[in-house]
């Protein structure tokens, strides 16, 4: 679960990491007061759970009330890569001497956490990897041993730091590993980590992704609960018009891909794997609340999940909904015979053997339906 920048910084501050003086504002009326308290010039940073904020224009400056109010109005109406901006973090403008990239994350290939430092901060780590690959230093962590300030001393010395800055950076790094561990994070990142002209070491941005199964998320329970409502089926809405209902995460992703491969536009991700297969009625009920669908592809490969039980649920849902959008079925695996029989008896539909064939058919039928509707 990704945290907002202001939440990440609140954690940093709790652990004694220096952050810019700032306030969270959620209307453009109050922006002037907050900005004055902090002192102009200020930075206005859109709070949204998405990357690419800088390029999307989500960071703006203001030297007086007029600029602050104008920019706040713009930011609060913005959408950054699909995520609505709910609030603005108003912060002091910092006197930057040097920008550093610092993060701790899980390295899947090495199967352990890795600390990544670059003395060329401020850009995306991938941009740094392209433009200054030699500036990227990594140190892998033995989790039973931890990552301590003396490990960080070594790392930051290799990155070229000395003296009091070295001491401050290494303490901050050890603190960040403490946050990574205690909050059970997947990622903690400070980019840029700024050294100011008067020697402060400041977390000017902060990104924290917590493990949804970990202890750290409990502090953000309200946020989780809000997500969970539509997360029952791990539903992710997309912009297409072909509804997807399949079992298992991998098969569902592939179902979307095959629809796209044959020229269609998938409308969603939705997983009904594991025990959830018994909830196919609720899943389709939920999917049919969308009025932009021009077709639905049901792709079932039964193992533990019984395809006949899934089809029964789908039939119950269809009975409740008065819909004429086309449905295409593909059924294989456990319960296949009975599932096919149910589809034939109730919908007079022959289920496909192959996903490729089913995908071609739904793409064609959705195209027809869209034309008819227009």
């Amino acid at each position: 679960m990704r945290l907002f920048e202001y939440q990440a910084k609140a954690i940093f501050a709790k652990y004694g990491i220096d952050i810019p003086n700032g306030q969270l504002v959620d209307s453009h009326d109050s922006i002037g007061d907050s900005a004055k308290k902090i002192g102009y010039p200020v930075v206005l940073k859109a709070q949204a759970l998405a990357g690419g904020r800088g390029k999307a224009g989500g960071i703006r400056f203001a030297k007086d009330d007029m600029e602050a109010e104008g920019n706040a109005g713009i930011l609060l109406g913005m959408n950054i890569n699909g995520a609505a901006v709910s609030s603005i973090l108003v912060e002091e403008k910092v006197d930057i001497e040097k920008e550093i990239y610092f993060s701790i994350t899980m390295d899947r290939a090495a199967k352990r956490p890795v600390v990544i430092v670059s003395a060329e901060g401020g850009m995306d780590i991938e941009e740094i990897a392209k433009s200054e690959p030699d500036s990227i230093l990594k140190e892998w962590i033995d989790p039973t041993h931890g990552f301590h300030s003396y490990h960080a001393i070594d790392l930051f010395k290799r990155a070229g730091f000395t003296g009091d800055t070295l001491r401050k950076l290494s303490q901050l790094a050890a603190t960040l590993y403490k946050i990574f561990s205690e909050y059970e994070a997947e990622l903690v990142e400070i980019n840029p980590l700024v050294i100011t002209r008067n020697g402060r070491v400041l977390a000017v941005d902060g990104k924290v992704i917590l493990d949804e199964n970990g202890k750290g998320v409990k502090e953000f329970q309200i946020q989780i609960d809000a997500v969970r409502d539509e997360d029952l089926m791990r539903y992710v809405p997309l912009e297409g018009d072909v509804g997807i209902l399949a079992n298992g995460a991998g098969l569902t992703m592939m179902t979307m891909d095959v629809v796209a491969h044959y020229g269609g536009n998938p409308a969603n991700f939705m997983e009904i794997g594991g025990e959830l297969y018994k909830k196919s009625e609720e899943a389709l009920d939920f999917l049919l609340t969308r009025k932009d669908l021009n077709g639905v592809l049901v792709n079932l490969f039964g193992a533990y999940a019984r395809t006949d039980v899934i089809i029964e649920g789908i039939l119950r849902s269809l009975e409740k909904h008065d819909t004429d959008i086309p449905f295409v079925f593909r059924v294989r695996g456990t319960g296949e015979e009975r599932a096919r029989k149910l589809l034939m008896e109730n919908l007079n539909v022959e289920a496909h053997d192959e996903l490729d064939e089913a995908a071609k058919e739904i793409v064609m039928k959705a195209e027809d339906y869209r034309k008819r509707r227009v």
Binding site: N81, K111, E212, N213, G250, T252, M253, D257, F301, R332
Partner: protein
């Protein structure tokens, strides 16, 4: 050992409802389930399989090659340490939802003790015609037939689909290895490929990946050195960026871990890319 087809199996958490369902399926398939563990249920038996209070007691009475864990996510770390301390050298972890910091510690402890961990969030292992360790529908004849193709998959459901395509194309499966969909897993794609390359039963390889992480990228570098043809199907091309797609590990940040980059690196290193499941069969017919 990962590819050995007749392992002696221990089942941790054997008395749970889901465990009993699958133990019966595995048993019927011919898997050599030696014993089970359930604290406080020592002395009972399930389908004639003796149950012990602890791994320690089970390994005193039985030679165990691998342990299969039907254990709640929050208890997986302890159960894994128990298995490692009991001297078991291979551990298969099914649970979905194990905290990633638990996994990190488990993997570290396993590595220090020379233990192979498969998963978490793996659907398990199938050795068609021999045995099945996990929750794959090994009994479905149009999905699993003995043969000469090694399949490695991050996903269970897409693993079924791929195996089915292999069988539809007239081939059989020598080994199906599910590695699991979590952010950190004990056995990575490249480690399975290394085993596949060494195994003489295997004539061709199907690699099922998905968006997120760098396991396929790492695997690609090894594919270059392999003598056997590799067909790769990577799911998630039409998934959005920055959102977790069901599997905790299936998330793309920026351009790292995108399906396009994975397909490109794999193809550049000599793998054959299937864009849809049916293409797996078509490519195998040409290559094997």
């Amino acid at each position: 050992m990962l590819l050995s087809k007749n392992k002696k199996v221990l089942v941790q958490g054997i008395t749970g409802k889901e465990a009993q369902y699958w133990v019966e399926k595995m048993n019927d398939y011919g898997t050599d389930i030696q014993a089970g563990v359930a604290p406080g249920k020592g002395g009972q038996s399930i389908l004639g399989i003796p149950v012990y209070d602890s791994v320690k007691e089970a390994v005193e009475q039985h030679d165990i090659d691998t342990t299969l864990m039907f254990v709640a996510p929050s208890l997986v770390e302890t159960a894994t340490m128990e298995a490692i301390d009991g001297g078991i050298k291979e551990i298969v972890i099914l649970a979905d939802g194990v905290p990633v910091h638990d996994i990190m510690r488990m993997l570290s402890y396993g590595a220090k003790n020379g233990v192979r961990i498969i998963g978490p969030n793996t659907p398990g292992l199938v050795y068609p015609g021999f045995s099945s360790i996990g929750i794959m529908p090994s009994w479905l004849p149009h999905v699993f037939q003995p043969g000469e193709i090694g399949v490695v998959s991050r996903s269970g459901s897409l693993g079924n689909e791929a195996s089915y395509q292999v069988v539809q194309a007239g081939f059989g499966i020598s080994h199906f290895i599910g590695i699991g969909g979590d952010l950190l897993v004990g056995t990575t794609t490249v480690e399975v490929l290394e085993e596949f390359e060494r195994n003489d039963d295997i004539k061709g390889v199907v690699l099922i990946g998905e968006l997120g992480g760098n396991m396929e990228e790492q695997a690609a570098r090894f594919v270059k050195t392999m003598s056997k043809p590799v067909v790769a199907l990577i799911a998630g091309k039409s998934s959005p960026i920055g959102v977790s797609m069901g599997h905790a590990g299936a998330i793309v940040e920026g351009t790292e871990g995108s399906v396009e980059s994975k397909q490109k690196i794999l193809a550049d290193n000599g793998a054959h890319i299937a864009n849809t499941p049916m293409e797996i069969g078509k490519l195998l017919k040409i290559l094997v």
